[in-house]
C-alpha cells in the first residue's frame, strides 16, 4: 500500500521528465510541479490524524510515507532553485535567501521539513516527535511562499489555503474542546 501511494505521488515527476523537452518555460514548470507537489502532499499528510478524530478511521500508518514524499518534492524544488535557477552561484543564493522574504520564507519551510525527515526514524521520532508540530509553521510559510511566487494568486493558491484552514481549524477546535473537557 505504501509503495502504491509512493508510486502515485511520484507520477507527476514522470510527467515532468516527459514534458521537459517541449516545455516553453522549463525552469518555471519544474518549480511549479515540485512546489505544488510538496504543498499538496504536506496538506495530505495532515489528513490521517484529522480522519482519526472526525471519522474514526485510522490511516496514521501512512502519515510518514506522505510526509517523506512531500519532503522529496521540496528537496527537488530547492534543487531547481540552487542548480537551475541560480546556476550554483552560491553567493547570489545566500544573498537572495537573506534579502528576499519570498525566498527566506521558503527556506525556513524547507528547513522544517528537512528536520522532520531527518528525525522520522523510529528511534529519533520518539525523541523529537513533539517538535514535529512545527509542520504547521512550515505549511503556513509554504502557503505564503506560493502566494508570493506570482503576480497575483490564482485558484490553486486559494484552494490550498482553504484546505489548510479546514485542517488547522479542526485542530484548534479539538484542542479547545480538550482543554474545556480537562479543566478542573
Amino acid at each position: 500500500m505504501k509503495t502504491l501511494i509512493s508510486l502515485i505521488a511520484l507520477l507527476p515527476l514522470g510527467y515532468a521528465y516527459y514534458a521537459l523537452e517541449s516545455a516553453i518555460d522549463p525552469i518555471k514548470m519544474l518549480y511549479t510541479i515540485t512546489g505544488v507537489g510538496a504543498i499538496c502532499l504536506l496538506i495530505l499528510s495532515l489528513i490521517p490524524s484529522t480522519c482519526k478524530r472526525v471519522c474514526g478511521q485510522n490511516f496514521l500508518r501512512y502519515r510518514k510515507t506522505i510526509g517523506l514524499l512531500s519532503f522529496a518534492y521540496a528537496l527537488l524544488h530547492v534543487s531547481v532553485f540552487i542548480v537551475l535557477d541560480s546556476e550554483l552561484d552560491f553567493l547570489s543564493i545566500v544573498e537572495k535567501s537573506l534579502k528576499k522574504p519570498f525566498i527566506y520564507v521558503g527556506v525556513i519551510a524547507f528547513a522544517i521539513v528537512l528536520f522532520m525527515a531527518l528525525t522520522s526514524t523510529k528511534k529519533r521520532f520518539a525523541r523529537f516527535s513533539k517538535y514535529h508540530k512545527a509542520v504547521y509553521i512550515a505549511l503556513i510559510l509554504a502557503l505564503l511562499h506560493s502566494f508570493w511566487a506570482q503576480k497575483v494568486a490564482g485558484v490553486f493558491e486559494y484552494g490550498v489555503v482553504a484546505m489548510s484552514v479546514i485542517l488547522l481549524g479542526e485542530r484548534i477546535f479539538h484542542l479547545k474542546n480538550n482543554l474545556l473537557y480537562n479543566a478542573p
Partner: protein
C-alpha cells in the same frame, strides 16, 4: 504592371476556398472561417535584424501569455481568447489632440503601412523571448493625431467588454482592476522603437497575444506592452498604470528593464529565455541602452523603477 498585394491575394484564395466549402457543408465552412486569421499573411517591410537576434518559435510566443482579462494562467488564455471578436475593431483617439476620432484597425494599417521589428521581450516575472512583431511605430500615429502642447503623456486603455473578457465580469473577485491601463511619457511614446503591433511572425496577432492591436515597448517590462487597445489618449498628467495601482511598492510607472534594480520579491539580474533550461544575463534597458538611455539621464532609476 499590377501586382496584387499578398494580403489581398491570400484573402481572395480564402474567399474561393470558402465558396468551395459552402458547396460541401456548413461545418466545413465554419472550420475554414475559424482558421482564416491564422492563414492570412501580412505584407510588410522586413527587419534587417542588425542585433542578430534569434526569434523564439511562434508556438512558444503564442502559447505562453499573460492575459489577465481571461485568466492568470499562462496557457489557459490560448483557448479562451479564441471567442474574441476582433473585427471590426474601432480604436478611440481622445484628449489633447487636434481632432478626436475613432478609427478601425484596418484603416490604421492602410494609413501607416506595416513593418517588421524583431525585439527582445522581457517579462517582470523573469522570463524573456525574442519576437518578430508586425506593425507601425507609434510616432507615426502621433504625428497624424497632432498632440497639442498640453499633451505630456500618452494613456492606453484595454477594451472593457465583460461579454468578451470573462475576468471583467468578476467585479470584486477580478484578478486585477479593469480595464487595464498603461502610459508612456510623450518622449518615450515618440521614440522610434515604440511600436504598435497588429501581427507577429508574418501573421495577424493571435487573439491571445492581444489582438487586434497591442503596444510593444521593448526596453520596458512586458506589462507595459498593453493588449487589445481600445483607447489612446494624450493627457497632461502621468496616468496611473494598472500594476502600479495594484501594488505601487512592486511596480512603478516607468518599469524599465534594469538588472541592477530588483523586484522586491525576486532578482532581475538574469532571465529565463523561453525554451531553455539555462539562464542569461538581463541587459540594461533590455539591450536598448544606446537607443533609450538618454531619455532617463539624471533620473534615479531606483526611485523611478
Amino acid at each position: 504592371m499590377h501586382i496584387t498585394p499578398e494580403v489581398l491575394f491570400e484573402a481572395r484564395r480564402h474567399f474561393l476556398k470558402l465558396g468551395a466549402g459552402a458547396l460541401v457543408s456548413t461545418t466545413a465552412l465554419s472550420k475554414l472561417l475559424a482558421s482564416m486569421p491564422e492563414e492570412i499573411q501580412l505584407s510588410f517591410t522586413k527587419d534587417a535584424n542588425p542585433l542578430k537576434l534569434t526569434p523564439n518559435t511562434f508556438e512558444q510566443a503564442s502559447n505562453y501569455v499573460n492575459f489577465y482579462e481571461f485568466s492568470t494562467d499562462k496557457t489557459a488564455p490560448v483557448k479562451m481568447a479564441q471567442s474574441m471578436k476582433t473585427k471590426p475593431w474601432n480604436v478611440g483617439f481622445f484628449g489633447e489632440i487636434k481632432t478626436e476620432q475613432m478609427l478601425e484597425v484596418d484603416e490604421l494599417i492602410a494609413k501607416f503601412g506595416l513593418e517588421e521589428r524583431i525585439y527582445r521581450f522581457r517579462c517582470v516575472e523573469g522570463w524573456s523571448m525574442v519576437v518578430p512583431w508586425i506593425g507601425f511605430p507609434l510616432y507615426k500615429l502621433l504625428d497624424y493625431l497632432e498632440p497639442n502642447t498640453k499633451a505630456k503623456y500618452v494613456k492606453f486603455t484595454t477594451r472593457h467588454e465583460p461579454a468578451m473578457f470573462p475576468d471583467q465580469q468578476r467585479g470584486l473577485f477580478a484578478s486585477i482592476k479593469h480595464p487595464y491601463v498603461e502610459g508612456l511619457r510623450m518622449d518615450e511614446a515618440r521614440h522610434p522603437l515604440t511600436f504598435l503591433a497588429v501581427g507577429m511572425y508574418g501573421k495577424p496577432l493571435p487573439k491571445q497575444n492581444g489582438a487586434p492591436m497591442r503596444l510593444v515597448v521593448p526596453w520596458k517590462y512586458g506589462f507595459k506592452s498593453i493588449k487589445s487597445i481600445d483607447l489612446i489618449e494624450c493627457v497632461e498628467e502621468e496616468p496611473k498604470n494598472t500594476w502600479q495601482v495594484m501594488d505601487s511598492k512592486e511596480y512603478g510607472f516607468y518599469a524599465n528593464v534594469n538588472p541592477n534594480v530588483d523586484h522586491p520579491r525576486w532578482s532581475q539580474a538574469k532571465e529565463r529565455v523561453l525554451g531553455k533550461l539555462s539562464k542569461q544575463e538581463t541587459l540594461m534597458f533590455n539591450g536598448y541602452e544606446k537607443e533609450v538611455g538618454h531619455l532617463y539621464v539624471g533620473m534615479d532609476l531606483r526611485k523611478f523603477f
